[in-house]
């Protein structure tokens, strides 16, 4: 199996048009990145006046700026992620190439004792917002060659609250 990594960005704050989590395989890395799965979880802790807003998953041809997400090797014997492979939240600049998914998200805080949209967003299996090729070798995951990337963008207008975003991917030489 390929060297596998989980990236995680906790408590990413909402803002208009914000890149919540992106991965970009820079030119010169000599690596191929394969993205298998992506999650978004409602871990909003305080009471806010949240509402429904929209998110989109885009492929990228450029990405820069932002803050490093936490990247964990699934096996400590894996090679380190190549320095030209960026995993960022809040990227300040990006060039989108193709939109592959759009979905709605309620960013109100989750509570117990109710069962409304924001509560459902705390269940990991229901928060799998991307699952590409997983479980079938006959299908391809999202493959990022040099100069290609992927990100989750908040395409709505909410500017309060936060959410967690996770990404599962592999790195290989070809």
């Amino acid at each position: 199996m390929a060297d596998t990594y989980s990236a995680y960005a906790a408590g990413v704050t909402f803002d208009v048009g914000k890149s919540f989590l992106g991965i970009f395989n820079g030119v010169g890395s000599g690596k191929v990145i394969r993205v298998y799965r992506m999650w978004m979880l409602n871990n909003q802790t305080g009471a806010i006046a949240g509402d429904f807003t929209s998110f989109e998953i885009w492929t990228l041809s450029a990405m820069s700026g932002g803050s490093d997400a936490t990247v964990t090797k699934h096996d400590s014997s894996n090679a380190s992620l190549h320095t030209s492979v960026l995993v960022k939240y809040g990227a300040s600049a990006f060039t989108e190439t193709s939109r592959i998914r759009k979905f709605m998200w309620c960013n109100d805080e989750a509570t117990q004792g109710t069962l409304v949209a924001d509560d459902w967003e705390t269940f990991v299996p229901l928060c799998l917002i991307g699952r590409w090729g997983y479980g079938s070798t006959a299908k391809s995951p999202l493959v990022l060659r040099e100069g290609q990337g992927l990100h989750l963008k908040h395409s709505g207008t909410m500017a309060i609250g936060n959410a967690d975003v996770g990404l599962e991917f592999t790195q290989a030489a070809s």
Binding site: D3, T4, L115, T122, V124, G166
Partner: protein, 173 residues
Amino acid sequence: MADTFMARSTSTFAGNRSMLSIFNASASKVIRVYRIWSVNSRIATVTGAITLMEIQMLAARSGSGTAVDVTKMDSSAAALDASVYVEYNNDHLIAGNTVRRVYQATDELIPNGWATQLLLKFYPLGLIWDAGYGDDNVQPLTLRQDEGVHVKNIGAATGGVFQFCMEFTQSAS
């Protein structure tokens, strides 16, 4: 296929408590964690809360917790190495990266109505980690010597009771 095991604990919530952990101190075994579940099993009345849990990698273990049930999926499998520790409520663990956070509602289950905590009685909805399961291209969480993983309540919830389960394999390499 590798020798496979299922760990299970009945874990009572307390603030900052490790609800289920596995730590590999063996120099001769590699542990691969495939799936983790967190399932509400409290039926007695309790003042629960929605609380934040974290799945954290472990970098060290300096003391013991409470040993939990570990079942071989095949009785002919080798015994779990004595240096592989599967525990509940071990407060001697040093955490590394957090790989996921998830909210859990710890109030008791009631027979009528719908609420967040009731959905957490279903194992499919309580599956909080499944990397590598069903796809051999993807690595599970691989624990070499002096590495581990646990589920920790980093919130302040007390009193709820959950079943925590962890599916893992043990092999020589």
